[in-house]
Symmetry: C2
C-alpha cells in the first residue's frame, strides 16, 4: 500500500492558530485549533503538535501563513519575524526561528493572504490561472498575488488593501477609518469601516440598502487598478464582507463599467462571472495554503525561503 | 581577437522606428532611424537593414519594443499582432510574423514600455533591482514591471497608465481627457492633459505654477498604488513630463506623505531619492531594451516568446 507524503501547515492568525498535517484537501490526518495567547505558549503548542510527526519522519516540511506585519524579505536579518504589531507580546517575535529551533525541519513562512492565495492556486478557484489574485475583504483588506506559482514579494510583501482610490464624497460622507490613510480602500470598504459608517455590521445591513452600491464601487475601483497593474487571469474575493453574495454581480458590473472596454480580454468582456469569483476552498484557503507552501519548499531543495 | 556577440533591436514607435545592431550600451555597430509609414514599407526597411547581418551570421536574435495596443499573449493566435489602433493601416498587423518571415531568425516582441523597463533593468537605473518598475509619463502614461528578470505579462500586458486615483476636484476642475475613463491617471496627468488644461504644453509652464503640486499629487497617488501592489525595489520615471526635473522632489515628498510611514522600508523612509529616479539610459532605454530582449531570448533556447 502506497502512503501519500504528508506535510505540516500552520494558519497563524492573530486570534487563533490552526495546525494541520495533511497531504491535500480532504486528506487531513490530524488538526488542532487553539487561541493565540503569548508567543511562547502559542508557538509551544504548535511545536508539541507537530513533534511526533517530525520524530517519526512523517512530516519533513511545514508551511506557515502568519498574521502581520511580517518581515518576508529572505535577505533581511529579521526574515520570519513579526515586526511592530498592536497584538500584545508579539512585536519582534521570531516566529520562523522559534518554530525551526523547536522542530529542526524545513519551514517557510509567508503572509496569511499570500498563503491563502497559494492554496487557492494549488487546489481552489484559481487553479491553473497564473498569474492570479486573491483578495480578502473583512476586518482588514489584503491581497496575495501568485506569479509563476509563487507569491509575489518585492521590496516588502504587497499591502494592496491600502490602495488610494476615488472617495465618493457626494454620496458617502464617511471620512474613512484607516489610521494611516483615512480613506484608502481599506479605510472605506473593510468590515469595520462599514460598521462604523452605518452603525451596524455589514451582515445586518439589508441587501436593498443603497450603501452596497457604494461599497461595490470601491471594490470595483480597486479591482480595476489590480487588473491594470497585475493583469491577473483570475480574481478571487474572500473575507467576511464578501459573504454577502449579492455583492459579486454588483462588483462585476461596476468593474466592466469602469474599465469601459479598455482591456479587450474575453475574460472581462464576456466571462466576468468566471473571472471574479468566490474562493474555491471556502474557509480552508489559509490552512490548505500552508500545506501547499510546505509542498512547494519540499520540492525545491534550493528554495531561498528555507 | 575576441569579437563580442551582436544582437538586433527595434524600437518600433508609432512615429519613428529605430533599428540597431549592438552588443550593449556604447557598443552600437550600426543604427538606422526612419519614419513610421505603412506597415509594408516600414517593416520592409527594417528587414533590409538587418538582412546583411543575418546573412553573415553576425545577428541571430532580434528584440522588438513595439507601439500598441499589442497582443503579447504567447498562447494567442494573434501573438505579435498590433490589435485595433487609430494609427492608419496598422490595425491587425502581424508585426512579429512579418519580421520573422523576412529574416528567419529568433525574434521576440514586447510592448515599448516593457522593453524600456528591461533596458533599464539590464544596463540602467534599475540594474540589480528585481522587481522594478519603469513608468513613462508623456503623450501617454504606461508602465513596465520587471520580475525575475522578465517583463510581467498576465491576462494581457499591464495598462498602468489608466489607474483610478482620487481626482482633486477642489483645486482641479479639469474633467480629464481619457476617451475611456475621463479622469484616470493618464486622463489627468499626461502631457496632453496638462496642455489641454492649461492652454500650453507642460514644457512652457513655469516651475512656480501651482498646478505642478497637483500633478505631483496625481503621480504620487499612482506610485503609492504601484508600491502597495507591485512592491518594486526601484521606480524609474521617464517620459516628456518628467523632463521637468523639479517634479522629482515634489513627487518623492508627496509619496512619503501619502504612505504616511505605512510601508516600513528604508528605501522609502530614508532613501527615497535613490528609490524614485530618472532613467539611467536617457532616451536610449527603448532601443537598448530591445537589444536586452534579444540577448534574453538568445540565452534561453526554450523561451516561450520565440
Amino acid at each position: 500500500m502506497q502512503t501519500k507524503k504528508m506535510y505540516g501547515g500552520i494558519e497563524a492568525g492573530g486570534t487563533k492558530f490552526v495546525c494541520a498535517v495533511a497531504s491535500g484537501p480532504g486528506q487531513i490526518v490530524d488538526e488542532i485549533r487553539f487561541q493565540t495567547t503569548t508567543p511562547e505558549e502559542t508557538l509551544g503548542k504548535a511545536i508539541r503538535f507537530f513533534q511526533p510527526f517530525v520524530s517519526s519522519g512523517q512530516v519533513g516540511a511545514i508551511g506557515v501563513g502568519c498574521f502581520g506585519p511580517l518581515d518576508v524579505n529572505v535577505e533581511s536579518s529579521q526574515y520570519g519575524f513579526i515586526t511592530a504589531t498592536p497584538k500584545r507580546g508579539w512585536s519582534h517575535t521570531n516566529v520562523l526561528g522559534i518554530l525551526r529551533g523547536g522542530l529542526g525541519i524545513k519551514i517557510a513562512l509567508d503572509t496569511d493572504v499570500n498563503v491563502a492565495a497559494l492554496g487557492e492556486f494549488k487546489w481552489g478557484a484559481s487553479r491553473g490561472f497564473d498569474p492570479s489574485l486573491y483578495l480578502t475583504i473583512g476586518t482588514g483588506i489584503g491581497g496575495g498575488y501568485i506569479k509563476d506559482g509563487r507569491s509575489l514579494i518585492g521590496l516588502l510583501s504587497p499591502e494592496m488593501g491600502h490602495l488610494r482610490i476615488p472617495h465618493n464624497r457626494e454620496l458617502d460622507s464617511f471620512p474613512g477609518n484607516c489610521p494611516f490613510h483615512d480613506d484608502c480602500f481599506e479605510g472605506l470598504a473593510s468590515g469595520p469601516a462599514i460598521e462604523k459608517r452605518l452603525g451596524a455590521p455589514g451582515a445586518m445591513i439589508p441587501e436593498k440598502h443603497p450603501f452596497w452600491n457604494i461599497e461595490a464601487d470601491y471594490i470595483a475601483s480597486a479591482i480595476m487598478n489590480y487588473v491594470l497593474t497585475l493583469s491577473p487571469k483570475k480574481i478571487i474575493l474572500g473575507g467576511g464582507v464578501m459573504q454577502r453574495e449579492f455583492l459579486f454581480p454588483k462588483v462585476r458590473w461596476r468593474v466592466r463599467e469602469l474599465l469601459n472596454g479598455y482591456v479587450s480580454s474575453k475574460s472581462l468582456l464576456e466571462h466576468i462571472d468566471d473571472y471574479i469569483v468566490p474562493p474555491g476552498l471556502g474557509n480552508q484557503s489559509g490552512s490548505l495554503g500552508a500545506i501547499a507552501l510546505a509542498i512547494q519548499i519540499d520540492a525545491e531543495p534550493k528554495d531561498s525561503r528555507v
